[in-house]
């Protein structure tokens, strides 16, 4: 709940509500698929993510 509250507050402050559908989609996908994926960063790129 704290996370959702903060996320909404963040989107409101930054006026970025258009990102919300994308984030919801990602959270749904994450719960289905991505949780099983590895999280290693690519070895030859600056750690931008």
């Amino acid at each position: 709940m704290e996370f959702l509250h903060e996320l909404l507050y963040f989107l409101k402050t930054r006026k970025k509500f258009w990102l919300l559908p994308l984030i919801i989609m990602l959270l749904i996908l994450a719960s289905l698929v991505a949780l099983t994926s590895a999280s290693a960063l690519a070895p030859f790129i600056y750690a931008i993510f």
Partner: protein
């Protein structure tokens, strides 16, 4: 009640922890030093345990914890970047999103979980200063100035890649910001990648390679022009626009669109560890020149918009000591101070400072003329008991010199005889440089010492330069600019009286190496250039007669000062080679055990740990299983 703030940097590269109490730095350390994994990005459990123990406090006694960036803002940047470039970037998107969905977007929860494992039983207030504010705070608050222009330049934080701020008293105001993907740090990193070095650690190598390029070679001139006309547009205020057709980092898993770069420069991307050619050296010089142009323009803008006569800097690009020299030479500021832990590790310290001064509105303590970094000796120290325990564990044999004068006389005699000595004393350095407490020392007058150290001790590329540690009071005898430089963050030039006149046109003297089809590239190979004696202190003089000096001060570095002074009495030479105590790919040593093992794994002749002197020939054979190779950086 005391305000005890823990600062943390983690999850990207160079995780670290720092602790300040009532605005004074108590301790700071990088996680890599404990885990022995270079640039370890993991949550800095051991570094946190160390800083808490150094302060003698438990986790629950902390007033606040500060994390060095804003995760949601970074996530926003990622999503908007992918959206802007769609469908390009799907590979990177697939790679990045699981990490975010699983962990990083829930950063607060993840941090609290880690804190509980460290003994936290309550929710300590958490601050998330922006990445570049953390850098700015790390540069300004410990600096010796009441007010300063603050320049931070790195790869990328949330959105910002470069900021100019003004610091006064306890306030920092961000005045200008350059945003992703337009980044001087990522531009330099792209060349690091193209020249076959590892991104995020090979930038030092690129900088070290650049003086091997020939400035007036038509190829260098042409490379520079191509960079400026095709890859990057530099505006008069120092802001830049990258031509993103040529860069892959925003959406891909590489830094460059390599076929386009190869077509542009007419050379192939250098394979890692392959031969370094003249073209590689010239390209390194060209991008170094362009980077210098950018940072000098940024410094000029910082001066104009802040009106301050003081400049402080942080961010990875601030570790480019050649560019720092250019800012100094441009005479824009009266004073310049650079955070010695300018990379992301230093963000932990900056985050703690930002929470204290900005978040909690506490007044700043500063000491005019004296910074608050304590020589950057902010890490752990080890007692004689711990040294003896290590000796017992490995049956290591040492001579004990309880008197510092006797110790320095003995060790300086070894150095004067051409021996290579590991030097381990007191508290470990915070930041990438070894400043005399975890160092390998040698005589800089010996012509082959640079190659010997690189190949037999550090197991790294032979061309890489070494820095001189010089008695502060004698620096003027050897170097053109002898201003205090205790953190090895500026280059200077060796005075003409010490130089050995180069063979006129080094290029022509090695005509045998010239390809007939490429007469314009009539220059020597890197190793032929390396063997040219440049000065009477050749091992610390770069090809262009520059040297990245560390001035050694009696008050700040008492033991190293005593050692060099003793060496001076013996030889008349007031300086030593000072390089970090590690081998290639290994983090700098932390404990006596790390030091003894590194000593045993290399051809180092002696190691001094506290007052104990270990001679190689007297040590037992190191069991095979203790020989360890580190991943090449």
């Amino acid at each position: 009640m005391r305000n005890i703030i823990l600062g943390i940097s983690a999850f990207y590269h160079d995780s670290a922890a720092a602790l300040i109490i009532d605005g004074r730095i108590i301790a700071a350390a990088q996680e890599e030093r404990f885990t022995r994994i270079k640039q370890d990005a993991a949550f800095p459990v051991q570094a946190i345990k160390y800083v808490l123990s150094e302060a003698g406090v438990s986790f629950d006694e902390l007033t606040a914890v500060a994390f060095y960036d804003k995760p949601l803002l970074k996530f926003e940047r990622l999503l908007e970047t992918y959206h802007a470039f769609v469908p390009r970037g799907w590979r990177s998107f697939i790679k990045a999103m699981p990490v975010w969905m699983k962990e990083k977007i829930f950063m607060k929860k993840m941090l609290r979980k880690e804190f509980r494992a460290l003994g936290a039983t309550k929710n300590t207030p958490l601050y998330f200063p922006e990445h570049h504010l953390s850098h700015a705070a790390s540069a300004f608050y410990p600096s010796p100035y009441e007010n300063a222009a603050i320049l931070t330049v790195d790869g990328v934080g949330e959105w910002a890649t470069t900021t100019i701020s003004y610091g006064r008293g306890r306030d920092i105001k961000i005045l200008r910001e350059l945003r992703f993907p337009h980044s001087p740090g990522l531009l330099y990193a792209a060349f690091t990648y193209f020249l076959g070095f590892k991104v995020n650690s090979g930038e030092y190598k690129l900088m070290g390679l650049s003086p091997y390029g020939i400035a007036d070679d038509p190829q260098t001139v042409s490379f520079r022009e191509k960079i400026l006309t095709t890859l990057v547009d530099i505006r008069s205020d120092g802001s830049i626009l990258l031509n993103m057709d040529y860069f892959d980092f925003a959406t891909g898993l590489k830094m460059t669109v390599t076929p386009l770069w190869e077509a542009l420069f007419g050379i192939s991307r250098r394979e890692p560890e392959s031969e370094i050619t003249t073209a590689h050296m010239n390209l390194a010089l060209a991008i170094q020149q362009v980077t210098e142009e950018i940072v000098v323009a940024l410094a000029r803008t910082a001066s104009e918009i802040t009106g301050s006569t003081n400049l402080v800097m942080a961010g990875g690009v601030a570790l480019n000591c050649v560019a720092n020299r250019k800012i100094k030479d441009a005479d824009i500021f009266k004073n310049i101070w650079i955070q010695p832990a300018a990379g992301d590790a230093g963000g932990s310290l900056g985050a703690a400072y930002a929470a204290y001064h900005i978040g909690m509105e506490q007044e700043r303590i500063y000491f005019p003329g004296d910074d608050a970094m304590q020589g950057s000796f902010l890490g752990p120290a080890y007692s004689d008991v711990e040294v003896k325990q290590m000796m017992a564990r490995y049956a290591a044999v040492a001579a004990h010199y309880p008197d510092i004068t006797a110790l320095t006389e003995r060790v300086s005699a070894y150095l004067a005889a051409g021996k290579i000595v590991g030097w381990f004393q007191d508290r470990m350095e915070f930041g990438p440089r070894a400043l005399g407490n975890r160092s390998i020392l040698a005589d800089p007058r010996q012509p082959d010492m640079q190659q010997q150290l690189n190949l037999k001790i550090k197991f790294r590329e032979g061309f890489r330069p070494f820095a001189p540690a010089v008695l502060a009071e004698d620096a003027h005898l050897y170097f053109k600019d002898a201003a205090a430089s205790p953190y090895m963050l500026f280059t200077t030039t060796v005075k003409s009286e010490w130089r050995i006149a180069p063979v006129k046109n080094a290029a022509a003297s090695f005509a045998a190496t010239v390809e007939e089809s490429e007469p314009e590239l009539s220059v020597a190979s890197i190793y032929e250039r390396l063997q040219q004696e440049r000065s009477a202190i050749p091992a610390v003089t770069h090809l262009d007669h520059s040297a990245r000096i560390q001035t050694v001060h009696r008050t700040l570095h008492p033991k190293l000062w005593a050692l060099i002074n003793s060496f001076k009495k013996l030889t008349g030479c007031s300086l030593l080679i000072n390089t970090s105590f590690n081998v290639r790919g290994e983090p700098v040593v932390n404990t006596p055990e790390d030091a003894w093992l590194a000593f045993m794994r290399t051809e180092m002749d002696y190691v001094v740990i506290g007052n104990y002197v270990f001679e190689k020939s007297r040590q037992p054979t190191l069991p095979k299983e203790l020989f360890k190779s580190f991943e090449m950086d």
